[in-house]
Symmetry: C2
Subunit: 454 residues, 2 copies
Amino acid sequence: MPARSDRMRLGAFLYPGGHHVAAWRHPSAQADAGVNAAHYRRIARTAEAAKFDLIFLADGVAVRGEDIDALSRTAIRYVGQFEPLTLLSHLAAVTERIGLVATASTTYNEPFHVARKFASLDHLSEGRAGWNLVTSADPREAWNFSRESHLAHAHRYTRAEEFVDVVRGLWDSYADDAFVRDRESGRFFDPDRLHLLAHEGAHFSVRGPLNVPRPPQGHPVVVQAGSSEAGKALAARTAEIVFTAQTSLEDATAFYADVKGRMAGFGRDPDHLKIMPGAFPVVGRTESEAQDRYGELQDLIHPVVGRSLLEQLAGADLSAYPDDALVPDLPETEGGKSRQALMLTLARREKLTIRELYLRIAGARGHWTLVGTPSRIADALQERFEAHGADGFNIMPPTLPGGLDDFATLVIPELQRRGLFRRDYEGRTLRENLGLPRPPHRHPAAAIRAPAAP
Amino acid sequence: MPARSDRMRLGAFLYPGGHHVAAWRHPSAQADAGVNAAHYRRIARTAEAAKFDLIFLADGVAVRGEDIDALSRTAIRYVGQFEPLTLLSHLAAVTERIGLVATASTTYNEPFHVARKFASLDHLSEGRAGWNLVTSADPREAWNFSRESHLAHAHRYTRAEEFVDVVRGLWDSYADDAFVRDRESGRFFDPDRLHLLAHEGAHFSVRGPLNVPRPPQGHPVVVQAGSSEAGKALAARTAEIVFTAQTSLEDATAFYADVKGRMAGFGRDPDHLKIMPGAFPVVGRTESEAQDRYGELQDLIHPVVGRSLLEQLAGADLSAYPDDALVPDLPETEGGKSRQALMLTLARREKLTIRELYLRIAGARGHWTLVGTPSRIADALQERFEAHGADGFNIMPPTLPGGLDDFATLVIPELQRRGLFRRDYEGRTLRENLGLPRPPHRHPAAAIRAPAAP
């Protein structure tokens, strides 16, 4: 294993009201969080005060599900909430150091728009933007974009590979020092430092230039969240953070070694990609307080909601199986492959019934659940970090603001005491805080001619 | 003419560094304004303190021009600046009452994304969002979106007509009171108050629902900026503000009567659309100070920049004509028709040479230029307002921040003394301040069934 930082990276993964599927019903959650800007401004400041590396926002461009009864009982299936890039641009105005990572789909967007919006956010935040690239797992998204059906998994990934190259190319439309703004001579930018992309590929033709100067970070940090074979290959070639769902230590270390091991094939240093699995912490001052808190949340799960969430994550209709039946083998779908595999592995390993599985995943939606005291949670995170199962974690508070407040005031000080987490930000930009290099411009300065006389 | 408010509406139309083509070279402009968030935060607060109705941002999804030498000498042709929706979401965090209007093209966007982003901005700003609908005048935009050529003018407008209907339909995905968030029963929203759009049209198939609750304003304010026949028809049917370029009093009153006169045919009250022509004010404490300021800016225009801007606005290659030749008749193009017509009318009326025309339009890009004392500028605005040539004006400061500071401290107090402009905001939302009604939901409450028992 290569040398790496002895500090873990932490993301604050924000979901309206919290990650637990019933969070909005709990008194420690803000029920109208999805469209409450003051709520988000408050939790962004909490996360920054706690020195989180970044805020992470998921996204979907369709309401996730067909069962209207189940949907109407949940806050977290994109039924009604802020769009991530507008929200993060807003939060950039009330924070100074924390990274701002939003999800955008390569399947239902154009690379020019994505490159432009994240470049704009990087300028607005003075170097704190990150783009979580997803290919969209939900077939309903197609129906909002004049398409009859969702793109097949393989097609989505070939499109994503080209998409990220186009976006990166557009970010290099200008050299870092292109905008000379010389009032005397009248040159606003040096024309020799403008680069047309002129991309012609299988999926896109994009001429450029992007109409935003090169971002402060060179490129916003690229995050990738798929863990299928195609997802891992894309991550090893292009990602700088991988967000993944890994529940056991052995799965986590295997995934970590797998993805990092693929990087040499692309000429990349394994330390230039940070693997940050999700972690869903239910914190109590005592074990029993933690268990009670978890129990309170679990008791709020309506059976309709639990089953529906399971069916959505598994991409399968389970209505033929009663709640106490063992989870059946499920066919592969064209949806999100990594999450499906995770469900099946978990169900088979522990011989779970439908009800047991939905209760298990309803909380953290398949992510690693940690219920305990600050010290026990710190132990678990430390073990996984030190075993090279993670470079850090994307923390998924069960409720918001309550669950984030608990983690910030109880667990983070414990991690700091152990020397595992920063006490202050090291740098100004997200890259500096993550220890990621600033990407050089694709056209080296030496190749650029001297500026023309004005 | 119908009854209307005795107060004029004012927009602060922000361009990087100011509207004058050479603004960035002037000491009263911020040269790096396009990507300087602190600069925008400052001028947004200035505009709000002055009680402007709204901030207005133009947009383009391509650098506007092919002449790299000319482009490299200007700050205002989308060579490098913030993307408008990210910028306005940011400014929503540092303002409380002023409206936030951004431009988005119906030609190079999807209605779902546009509906969602403006709904998100409306929630973030608690009811202050507006969408300036344009069809894109620049053929280069096509090349950034995998298209070989720009859509023809007529096709752009049939697409725009359908686009705005889809967007409005998506904003009505939920009833205003759909999100009941009843913790006790577990109902997050009332399923009977969710409405699938299920739109199937010539250009779009969009199922919905939008995954944002109905915006605080019902619908963000819809602004329209084309003044061609197709543009006026679209405005009369759908717009609530029209931004237009009208230089003479007679053109302004004719345009005003024309657009308002078309509204009855769509069953609309003419007072529910505010016509706000652009106005480019160069303010001086004395006439000679105003003329000197204008002269200073005009002297900074490089001939290459002036000619290039003229060619872009006219959509024609003028390289065969020397600077002192009379402006020739120009063929119609598929670009922005209203601006072309304006150029030609002006040139013919005043028998202008190429150089005279480009100097005339380079400042305000074809908009109404007012050079004078606060009192003379107020006179001109008052005359046009009272003659029913305008419901208000979109103020285009020649430089930023300087030109906005001048207008705010010198002209606005004069308008207030005359009772022509507010001394404080009347309402909380942009609609309330503009005196526009809140659109009822397309599915009347009476048609909605009683909520199902939980």
